[in-house]
Symmetry: C2
Subunit: 359 residues, 2 copies
Amino acid sequence: STSLDLDEFPHTRYNPLKDEWVLVSPHRMKRPWKGQVEASKNPNSLRFDPTNPLCPNVTRPNGQTNPDYKETFVFDNDFPALFEYSEPTEEPKSSNDPIGDDLFKVQAAKGSCKVMCFHPYSDLTLSTMKQNDIVNVIKKWIEMYKDLSTKYNWVQIFENKGEIMGCSNPHPHCQVWASNFIPNEINREGKNQFEFYKKHGKVMLVEYLNRELASKERIVVQNDSWVVLVPYWAVWPYETILLPKRHVTRIDLLNEKEIELLAEIMKKLLIKYDNLFKCTFPYTMGFHFAPCGKYLDEPQEHWQFYASYLPPLLRSASVKKFMVGYELLAQPQRDLTPEKAAAQLRELSDSVHYLIQSD
Amino acid sequence: STSLDLDEFPHTRYNPLKDEWVLVSPHRMKRPWKGQVEASKNPNSLRFDPTNPLCPNVTRPNGQTNPDYKETFVFDNDFPALFEYSEPTEEPKSSNDPIGDDLFKVQAAKGSCKVMCFHPYSDLTLSTMKQNDIVNVIKKWIEMYKDLSTKYNWVQIFENKGEIMGCSNPHPHCQVWASNFIPNEINREGKNQFEFYKKHGKVMLVEYLNRELASKERIVVQNDSWVVLVPYWAVWPYETILLPKRHVTRIDLLNEKEIELLAEIMKKLLIKYDNLFKCTFPYTMGFHFAPCGKYLDEPQEHWQFYASYLPPLLRSASVKKFMVGYELLAQPQRDLTPEKAAAQLRELSDSVHYLIQSD
Ligand SMILES: O=P(O)(O)O[C@H]1O[C@H](CO)[C@@H](O)[C@H](O)[C@H]1O
Ligand SMILES: O=P(O)(O)O[C@H]1O[C@H](CO)[C@@H](O)[C@H](O)[C@H]1O
């Protein structure tokens, strides 16, 4: 606790999930912007594009024709970053070079990369889809997870939305990359949540949510099962975290009501995001929870399921926050405080989308 | 050591400096690109712009007029992320909430942010400046470092080059942010280098360079004092690291010959970078070395001075690598292997710039 005025003076805040700090420089919101401005994109207005490999009935470059799908549609990524292969059989040889072994470590990476279309229409996004269509998406995620989790140790579900987020196709879709290895961020978060659990006998993110619910300062929107808030240690200007009100260690453990209400709160958050700068809001989102495969047999109580939304925009639909220089080499830095970001998001409508007439 | 074909099969490589892994998916270079294309920028051709606050003799928005500088010019950032202020005096009170204390950690952040113009001409870059002008830049860095290092615990020197890297002014310049705190990345690298030193009794990056010099596979360019190479664990497509041939723990310990040859090798690398896609190559660069301030009295032998170049371009002047979805949530991923990137860079001229007629 500090009596420092966090709205005025530069300070660093600690992220207990990642064990790292963010520099907050609130007074810097006043600085003028003369740098890059992103082309302002109109939302995609084409419902069906016969040349788009994600649309129903279209033949993809590999010769396969998509079905006339009506809800979600899953297929194998045609250019997967991970796939299955058999390693050359090798005699384990003892190395005479312990230093070299520590400097040139390499591991075979095996896995599976899938693409999932959210809906047959190219002109929709999760913010403009019907709640029930989002329920279908969540159920498909869980089905895919259940399938992949027996074979792989981690399943990363993620959506890159918007060209500015490297998304190369405007059709609403996400990706699922499953791997034999535990990625850096999952490893880090597992370790830090485990240490916290050992030290305090409590689940880090459950305790954290309790305190946020009491303070209300950083809450954006909530329903019976879920809360969206701007974390105290947020790095991106309008970064949010979506947490269950119950302790849930993995996505397959959500119950029917939680699935229904997850669809509801995702839609509410995404309507707010689109309304913020009156644009189809770009972001990366994805889920973190306890790892699977061989880790299903290990203690997982220290983990809490959550979704992370990482949007790059800072001041308008065309001005983003650059994570460059100081951020890449030293430490993330933000100008807007998490409290101000939460207050702005809280005030926006979560039911009337700026593009859609209310009924 | 593995007999896996690293040019063909996905694998992960370990970064011993950061204690994290990168996913390499070499076969993925074949995938088509339909995503965002950056506007191709012509290099800045205006030598003097009376409205540019970085040019000589121009009056900046705060009312100060720049001198008629002939070499480098340093001034205080008009919108600093860090500055000096006095904290409210506070009775240290014992907290009754150890969990809350672990979840909401905050520290006052104090420091100084400076801007340094490399040259009076707006139409130059480090790749097109004379070697002797680069020597002036390096000497000014050392002078600034010496000054700031008595008061602050870390001095981050960095250059954001290009609009795509969030650079808001085309005039050749860099920034220097000094802080009372040790940023995440410095903390991490210090810890990992220290552990290595304790375990092996050798300096990590000195050992690493010896092995790279023996293998030659990832070397880009070298001279009597310096080597540029693509690290085994590089994340960005054409990322490089610039290492001294001698063990040097801090920037102020470089000798005259090393300063001269650092200017030479920086220019060579940057000419290669510009020649790669025939554009003024965007990047973030900066130096890492042992921390200062109160850390000057602690052992620093495990540290090795180096410069890091982090360029975003992937396939051409207009297609960059996006660090999004999987990268942000799970782990960095690359397609091009570090060995192929090094071979490409190695082959480009380091003396004839694509824009400049050779004499
Ligand atoms: O200080 P500048 O050049 O205006 O700003 C640039 O560099 C800073 C330090 O890396 C970043 O925080 C900003 O996001 C970026 O736009
Ligand atoms: O797979 P996509 O959508 O073609 O590619 C996008 O997402 C990937 C996973 O985050 C990134 O590695 C790519 O840089 C990005 O362009």
